[in-house]
Amino acid sequence: MNSSIRKLFYASVVLFAALLGMLAYQQVINARSLADNPHNTRKVFEQMRINRGVILASDNTELAKNRLQGGLYYRQYPLGDLFSQVVGYNDMVYGQTGLEHSQNDYLTGTADEVEVTNFINQLTGKQRAGANIKLTVDPKVQKTAMTDLQNNGKPGAVVVLDVHTGAVLAMASNPSYDPNQLEADWAQLNQDPSGPLLNRATQSLYTPGSSFKLITTAAALETGAFTPGSQFNDEKGYIDIDGNRINNYRATATAAPEIFGQHTLSDAFAHSINTTFAQVGDKVGQAKLVEYQQKFGLYQAPPIDLPGDEVAVSGRYVNGHLASPNDSLDQVHVAWMAIGQENVQVTPLQMAMVAQAIGNGGSEMKPYLVDSVIDSNSTVIRKTQPEQWRQAIQPQTASTITAMMVRVVNEGTGFGARSDKVQIAGKTGTAEVGGGKINAWFVGFAPADNPKVAIAVVVENAASTGHDSSPIARDVVLSALGMR
């Protein structure tokens, strides 16, 4: 019998080996997919037991805090819809967006730096807690931007950057939503065609229109092909390039285009003369136009501290996909690109960064929303250091463009942004979207002689830049400079 008993033991060993193998499979190989199963509420539940960090504005206003109920921490957003897209939401059912998502490791205290503190705290008997996040945004500026957008009544976005650091002072997107009512409003928010959940400042791609001439001008000046005084003569209000007609601005599709006569490049910039910039683009050529787009950071995701899927890349889009910058364009498309009417699509954040770079002597900074991370012991465990992202253009070019931008506000298309309190420099853009409607842009900075804040404003389905985007830019700039 001994031999059969031994064989029974060997059979048992096989059974136990199968158990060990399956155990290792479930706990090691399959563990990730089990953890990611949406029905596995472990992670969310675990995080709701953590006293999640508070999110503060630059003036220490609470933007997100906690309400303790039944041992679980629920999120509250005291300012309602003001910072919804930037701060995002943290919800047991719908997950996380915005900074709630990108800063989750700090907020829950699972980031390495916070773990150390938590370990020490546990030894001393204190409760585990997440770190607080202090932002660069200023609620006063944000409020001005949001109120102006809401009063205007059309969808749009405003981005305000600190010219020297790249810190985001305001980032508003209209329409917005109340994150405190997320679960109740979820279905409605998702059906709303105006997309209130969308962060238009970083996610929406718009045709830049004439605001793109900032980049065309930078290329024109730095290649040495043109100076602000370069002479042009506009006799017809249109030019034909390779058999295609490009018109100057027309009030309606059937109206006669404006005719500007003899003028300089600087005049053309102030009055946004399309025919002139079409010729500039034609002369500068596609390679240089694309090179300067890339110098300003197009074709790359802006390195901001929001979740990657909430930051769109600016650049030329074909059939909804970012095209390669090296795609060869025919002559007329290069001319169209120079006046911002080709398939180039940009985010308000990207255009604010272009303005910031010009205001900062050509040095484009990495934009950021998180000023510092402060752990539960009030120790600053991380402070964002302003960092150059790229040197877009030479300082000399920047100051030349600045002078041209001042003329836009003082005597050109940006008149609506003029203020007697501060000299604002800027560039407008009117991108036709059909039905006589435009997307109205204002991109600029102030004060012109000592730039501090850079701004990009876009208003969708607008009537004109003078009516829609420029006055908002002026209000917000004054608010950011403490002059309002």
């Binding site: 008993i5 029974l8 136990f16 158990l19 155990l23 706990q27 090691v28 029905h39």
Partner: protein, 444 residues
């Protein structure tokens, strides 16, 4: 010698128990009070008392059996204590009853081979328990399985006891019929076949197991019973034909049950895909897998797993009984959970080793049957909660909560203790005798 080794083996058991209970208490001090820590101390006291008892009653018994079962029981009561301290009190009481029965068996059945004379009574008693349960059994926990019998206000699972009784019966029966069953009278396609009339017992046990399944919806114990029978039949005859025929018969019964019994159908479907109806039918298995996966290599730590809802209700139904291994896997990780599996393997190893070492056929078959029973029961329940095989509701010996389970399993250990004690003391006697003879020879 054996007892000193046993005492040394107890040291890690005591240490682990102390550490385990302390860490559960530390992690859940808000929910539980410190007086419940006494279960840990009570537990250690029980096993040290058993050790002293064995020094007197069975000094040559296998020195690994008790430390292994002690460690398993420690992990069980620790986990139960972590899930619900009030259940740990009941489990500690049952542990005392189990140890009491253990001691009683070791004293009363000192000459356990006398059981061989009463095997038909024992076997009938085992079957009677099953029949009574089939008729009067109650479904206590809404699992759809009628396992419980009310015995003077106390709920017991007779199936657990009939497992032990039927194992004893089979050991005696197969021992006496061994020669007959091993003869070859005819061949089927060259394969030697046993005489057809001796397939009777096989058919009987098969019918019984199948009946249990059909009448009581009791998937686990019926499979276990049949598995133990096949293992013992193979041990007795050394003929693979029996388990082969048996497996074919069981497969046939399984296919039939799949198409006729809703519970079998459900268990198989959930095993194949727990994700399609994850909130209802697949819920228990899916939650078990989530818990096991969450454990990772080293676990969340005792008391820190996601095992209970805020109101203290178990997230995985039957967590403290059939699914206790999922709780261990989550909180102690691959390291702790594989230790449990290896402990069971060691327990089986000791059982089979005792079977090989002992000299009479009845003892051999009894020890092998008990060892095979532990191996199969562990495989059925652990394979079930890990989605290796369809779930068959059955307890994890010594670890799961449940009086019937712990008491009956201690009875099995008592039998192994008796067999090994007799084998070792007789071997010692023989060695001394030959030593004496040798020294007499030298002096002469």
């Amino acid at each position: 010698m054996e007892r000193r080794r046993e005492l040394i083996n107890f040291i890690p058991v005591v240490l682990l128990t102390v550490i385990g209970f302390s860490s559960v208490y530390a992690a859940r001090s808000a929910q539980i009070n410190s007086s419940s820590l006494t279960y840990g101390l009570l537990f250690i006291a029980i096993f040290l008392a058993v050790h002293v008892f064995l020094r007197l009653a069975a000094p040559h018994a296998d020195p690994y059996l008790l430390p292994i079962t002690g460690l398993l029981a420690a992990m069980g009561i620790m986990m139960i204590y972590r899930i619900d301290p009030s259940l740990a009190a009941a489990q500690a009481t049952w542990l005392l009853v189990g140890v009491g029965l253990f001691a009683a068996i070791v004293v009363v059945l000192r000459d356990y081979r006398k059981l061989d004379d009463y095997i038909y009574i024992l076997g009938l008693a085992g079957i009677a328990l099953l029949v009574v349960t089939a008729i009067f059994g109650k479904d206590m926990n809404g699992s759809g399985v009628r396992l419980w019998l009310n015995l003077g206000g106390m709920w017991i699972q007779p199936g657990e006891f009939s497992k032990v009784l039927i194992t004893i019966f089979l050991a005696g029966y197969l021992h006496s019929k061994r020669e007959l069953l091993s003869t070859t009278t005819w061949r089927m396609g060259g394969v030697p076949m046993p005489p057809l009339k001796h397939l009777g017992p096989l058919l009987t046990v098969w019918g019984m197991s199948f009946g249990m399944l059909l009448l009581m919806n009791d998937l686990g114990p019926s499979l276990l019973l049949f598995g133990i029978f096949l293992a013992m039949l193979y041990a007795a005859t050394d003929r693979l034909t029996y388990p082969a025929i048996g497996l074919v018969m069981m497969s046939g019964a399984g296919v039939f049950a799949y198409f006729t019994k809703a519970i079998v159908h459900l268990r198989v479907d959930v095993w194949l895909n727990p994700w399609t109806d994850i909130d209802n039918k697949g819920y228990q298995l899916a939650q078990s897998l989530f818990a096991i996966g969450d454990g990772g290599l080293f676990g969340t730590g005792l008391g820190k797993g996601y095992l209970l809802f805020r109101n203290g209700q178990e997230i995985i139904p039957a967590l403290h009984t059939d699914f206790i291994f999922s709780a261990i896997a989550e909180e102690l990780g691959l390291a702790g959970a594989s230790a449990v599996i290896i402990l069971f393997l060691l327990l089986c190893y000791r059982g089979f080793k005792i079977a090989v070492a002992t000299d009479d056929g009845f003892s051999k078959l009894l020890a092998a049957g008990i060892a095979a029973g532990f191996a199969l029961q562990t495989f059925f329940i652990l394979g079930g909660v890990m989605k290796l095989i369809p779930l068959t509701g059955i307890t994890l010996p010594f670890v799961s909560y449940g009086g019937s389970s712990i008491v009956s399993n201690f009875a099995s250990i008592a039998l192994l203790v008796l067999i090994s004690n007799r084998t070792n003391s007789e071997r010692l006697k023989a060695a001394r005798a030959s030593e004496l003879a040798a020294s007499l020879g030298r002096s002469a």
